[in-house]
Assembly symmetry: C2
Homo-oligomer: 133 residues x 2
DNA sequence: TTAGAATTGTTATAATATAACAGCATGTAA
DNA sequence: TTACATGCTGTTATATTATAACAATTCTAA
């Protein structure tokens, strides 16, 4: 069985699922993940969703809400998913995480102005990427 | 039967469903809508989803992606859903559409910089509203 | 008045997500 | 050492969200 150290590591299922998402060039959906890890002994949706929930919680992956799909975090500035932004090509479906400190500062401060106690935001841009336009 | 003029109007089902969403103080989910319009002769999910799709397309409502729920558009500046932004209270679940020309200009121009041909964006802020914090 | 487009109604099913329960492994405290 | 708490796992069943596919009707424009 997997050894669990308090400080860091992912559990077996979490690691399997994170690796799959991290290696993928595109956002993966929960059931796509399930089909791809059944050979590794992960058989049922709750096992996938539990790992996904945890990975989202600790900021290793993000959920693309408009696609119900998951990508590995590529942005050390997102501060455990407090400030996420993505560009999504409507033609080829490529998703890129946007890393832009100015943008996240702008949006965080915008939020404060509006009287809300800020916890996090998620921004999704849609359009055509360089290749597709 | 409903008369259909090119210029404007909603069809019967579209109007029923729009009215329900517009009168609601909170985002409504598709099946909540379904339960609430069955007395009006709308019996099946596709009827609801078709009306929702159309209402989203023409900008009368928006989908809150993180909640799979729908709200009436309160923002004449969103330009048929090209530039949508919401604040979402994680405690009381209140959702408000943000109307801020500066914000949408900022985000539209940000997007252009990144080499993507801009079509639209959706921004969701999460936190605690004034009442809940 | 007729063809095309949009809308409606219906049944069935696909896709996404969670509830509920039982068991095991690890870390901590008595 | 035992006992308890916590977190992860495995499993079955089910809830929730969304669409496919087909037939019929209504509206609009020419």
């Amino acid at each position: 069985m997997t050894r669990m150290h308090k400080e860091n590591n992912l559990s077996k299922n979490q690691q399997i699922i994170f690796d799959l998402i991290d290696r993928s060039s595109e956002p993966l959906k929960a059931y796509t993940i399930l089909y791809n890890v059944q050979k590794k002994g992960i058989n049922a949706p709750p096992q996938v969703y539990r790992a996904l929930d945890k990975l989202v919680e600790i900021g290793k992956i993000h959920k693309i809400e408009s696609k119900n799909a998951f990508v590995a975090c590529k942005n050390s500035d997102c501060e455990i998913s407090k400030a996420t932004a993505f560009s999504i090509c409507e033609s080829c479906e490529v998703v890129d995480e946007i890393s832009d400190v100015k943008l996240s500062k702008y949006l965080s401060s915008f939020n404060h102005k509006k009287g809300m106690k800020f916890k996090r935001f998620n921004l999704e841009f849609f359009g055509l990427c360089k290749k597709c336009k």
